[in-house]
């Protein structure tokens, strides 16, 4: 961070970032509600819908790296404006698509790109540059909690929209709502440093994108963070998608599953905020190890205890606390190690690993279920991966990376 550069007012930064994440994380979370109306209305199979959502997850992960590069180079607010336009284009395209191909392109590729340009990696780039190290984890936790709140809020909101209007009008309404990101992004335009500070910065050696990538790829702690984030994606999406099916197989009522999803959403808000707060006091590697370890314990107890609606609710509340709580410490650690010059791109890389884990979790869950007729093996894999993630989080070195003198020093302040 350049100490000579003026900063955005903290309150404005937090409010605008939180509103953007509430909207973008929330809209995406309610997409499952469109499965039935879209497939019934268009006469498509569920596989068509599921394939578009799978493409969306991969598109989010891969394009996130490039969105991060653009944000680091041209400023996050510009990328957020692009994200806003992509959201509108994707949601309107989703409403007007009449073939599986156009649906996959709009709901999959375009909305995936919109998410990449408007969620954590890009928004955290601004927070990394504008909030001093002492409060950065808290600020990341607060805005992540806003994203979690969006997930909690938008499911009933989208359900209401579909019930009140038809599904196409509901999508068009959401498409119009995402245009709100543009004025919010404009408020996040970062102040330009004074000319003297700019010339000093220009004369300092600059690390190129390729150098930053090489440095991160060769740094063991970065690889450990990526491995642990893969596990996060695997566990969260496997449970989010396959838990209802598991509960149905065990003879529980559908209301139990829907209440469980609501509880996960509610406790997720407290978990993400709380972990961001704890990140100010405790090393992030210990927090990450504790989160993955706690997930393993919670899943083990859930599988061993007698299954009742209340055991499901307790499991949902506990998993909710641990749901997206990995986001603030993982991103704060990336910023601490490598500085903030290429933070959005590196954060995008780590998140890409998360998305590959998500894809693997949802796909492997279905594949193993189709062959074995149950989820036992996938639960065991999720447990083993949880232990592994807890172990690999412990040796992560959070200190700023030591660079040769000709390289630019990491900005950790």
């Amino acid at each position: 961070m350049n100490p000579a550069a003026p900063r955005l007012p903290l309150m404005r930064l937090l409010i605008c970032s939180s509103l953007i994440l509430t909207l973008t994380m929330g809209i995406r979370h309610g997409f499952g509600l469109w499965l039935q109306p879209v497939t019934q209305s268009q006469g498509w199979t569920r596989e068509t819908f599921a394939f578009a959502i799978a493409v969306q997850n991969l598109s989010w992960g891969v394009i996130g790296i490039f969105a991060g590069m653009l944000a680091d180079r041209w400023g996050s607010w510009r990328v957020l404006i692009g994200g806003s336009l992509l959201w509108t284009l994707g949601l309107c395209g989703m409403a007007l698509s009449d073939t599986p191909l156009t649906f996959t392109l709009s709901a999959g590729v375009v909305i995936g790109a919109a998410q990449a340009a408007s969620t954590y990696s890009v928004v955290y780039g601004i927070i990394g540059r504008q909030v001093e190290l002492a409060r950065r984890s808290w600020a990341m936790g607060l805005t992540a909690a806003a994203g979690s709140f969006g997930q909690f809020l938008m499911v009933p909101t989208e359900g209401w929209l579909i019930g009140r209007f038809d599904w196409q009008q509901a999508l068009l309404a959401l498409g119009a709502a995402t245009l709100l990101i543009m004025p919010l992004a404009r408020f996040l335009r970062e102040p330009v440093a004074p000319a003297s500070a700019q010339s000093a910065a220009a004369s300092a050696p600059q690390q190129s994108i390729l150098q930053a990538l090489r440095e991160a790829a060769a740094y063991p702690s970065f690889r450990l963070l990526m491995a642990a984030y893969f596990v996060c994606g695997f566990q969260v999406v496997f449970i989010g998608v396959h838990l209802p099916s598991y509960l149905k197989d065990q003879g529980l009522a559908p209301q139990v599953a829907s209440t469980a999803l609501a509880l996960i959403g509610l406790f997720n808000v407290f978990g993400t905020y709380g972990v961001g707060l704890l990140g100010q006091r405790w090393p992030n590697r210990y927090l990450l190890a504790a989160i993955y370890g706690a997930r393993t314990i919670v899943i083990t107890i859930f599988l061993l205890a007698p299954l009742t609606p209340w055991s499901v609710y307790l499991f949902a509340a506990a998993m909710g606390l641990l749901w997206l709580s990995t986001v603030p410490p993982t991103n704060a650690t990336v910023a601490q190690i490598f500085g903030i010059r290429h933070f959005s791109m590196l954060s995008g890389f780590v998140f890409c690993s998360h998305q590959v884990g998500s894809f693997t979790g949802v796909w492997l869950g279905g594949w193993i279920y189709d062959r074995n007729g149950n989820y036992d093996l996938v639960w065991l894999i999720a447990l083993a991966l949880g232990v592994l993630a807890a172990i690999v989080s412990l040796p992560v070195r959070e200190a700023p990376i030591a660079r040769a003198p000709q390289r630019v020093a990491p900005d950790a302040a």
């Binding site: 509600l33 039935q36 909690f152 009933p156 359900g159 559908p254 599953a257």
Partner: protein, 41 residues
């Protein structure tokens, strides 16, 4: 931040969460969500 403002923000946040949770337990919405969840299987 002043303690009064902090308390107000916490109170508003908890109220918002309670209001959203109340949406989830509306019988119509529980039925809609349950139908959607079960229809995906």
């Amino acid at each position: 931040m002043r303690p009064g403002l902090r308390l107000l923000l916490w109170g508003a946040s908890l109220l918002a969460l309670a209001a959203v949770f109340a949406l989830y337990v509306q019988p119509d919405f529980v039925r809609l969500l349950a139908d959607q969840v079960w229809s995906c299987l």
